[in-house]
């Protein structure tokens, strides 16, 4: 936990100052998770604000301060999922935006070693985003939370409200699909 339980309790009782402190403590971590989940840097803050907006209006439903983090991750997962679904509907726009974004990234990176490092990172991001586009939004988020965010199955169980075995099966299938895409060179 990044904060004391008392602060969450205060925020839950409607103390806006306490809520502000909660957001300040968690915003960087949540924005990082969102950035890796959605893969669109320009929309990260928008989705992050949506997460904290949902948190503000659902904090009174939180049963105990101890389950705050899984609760926050659940809101993050849901907001990212909603975003990805919206993006899927606007897929054509996305593809054109992506090429523009790549051009901007290439332009932005300047000279020598730094440029090479940025190019390598951009390449990794592109590969992973392409691989993840081969699975559903649900599986993409689940894989990210497990493999990249490093959450344990127990933590995922609390976030998804699904038993461990069901999660294992789902993760296994998602990994298989990603591996198949990786090996077949579809990306």
């Amino acid at each position: 936990m990044l904060i004391e339980f008392e602060l969450i309790e205060k925020a839950r009782k409607g103390d806006d100052g306490a809520f502000n402190q909660v957001v300040q403590a968690y915003r960087k971590r949540i924005l990082g998770t969102i950035a890796r989940l959605i893969g669109r840097p320009e929309d990260v803050e928008d989705v992050g604000q949506e997460v904290f907006l949902r948190l503000y209006y659902s904090l009174d439903q939180l049963r105990a301060a101890e389950v705050f983090e899984p609760w926050l991750y659940r809101l993050t997962v849901n907001a990212a999922y909603d975003y990805l679904r919206r993006q899927k509907r606007r897929h054509e726009h996305r593809m054109s935006d992506l090429s523009e974004q790549q051009v901007m990234m290439a332009d932005a990176s300047a000279g020598g070693k730094k440029q090479a490092e940025e190019q390598r990172r951009t390449k990794v991001r592109e590969i992973v985003q392409s691989l993840l586009s081969k699975v559903s939004e649900e599986d993409r988020i689940l894989l990210m939370m497990k493999e990249v965010e490093g959450l344990s199955l127990k933590e995922l169980e609390k976030i998804y409200h699904v038993n461990e075995n069901a999660l294992k099966v789902r993760l296994f299938r998602a990994r298989q699909r990603v591996l198949k895409a990786y090996e077949s060179g579809e990306i």
Binding site: V23, K28, L31, A35, R36, V148, Q176, Y182
Partner: protein, 112 residues
């Protein structure tokens, strides 16, 4: 076997992706914009409550008008129970009183 293959090939990729996407620094606008959105939602919610409240009152008023109409219209359509006017009633009562006064002033007839 499959699990090992997945681990060998994908695990380094996840690690690299994690490194390629570090936690971004929130911009200076993040908190003010977030509070603006919270306020906007709060206003939208309160105006929604006001609208619901106004609609409830409107429906209640319409229902009251319908109920009052259902009670009053049949009564107004039926002929009134009394056909005579208030003046007629007074005149009738007055003439009855006059008779009583006259009969009281007349001398009692002698018994035969």
């Amino acid at each position: 076997m499959d699990q090992d293959r997945v681990k060998d090939k994908l695990d380094p990729l996840w690690t690299e992706y994690r490194e390629a996407c570090p936690d971004p620094e929130p911009s200076a606008h993040f908190m003010p914009q977030m509070w603006q959105r919270i306020e906007a939602r709060r206003n939208a919610m309160s105006s929604a409550w006001f609208r619901i409240w106004a609609e409830v009152w409107l429906v209640a008023t319409v229902m009251a008008v319908i109920v009052m109409g259902a009670i009053l219209i049949p009564r107004l359509q039926n002929p009134p129970a009394y056909q005579v006017s208030y003046v007629d009633v007074l005149a009738a009562a007055d003439s009855a009183n006059d008779g009583a006064v006259v009969s009281a002033n007349e001398p009692a007839s002698e018994p035969e």
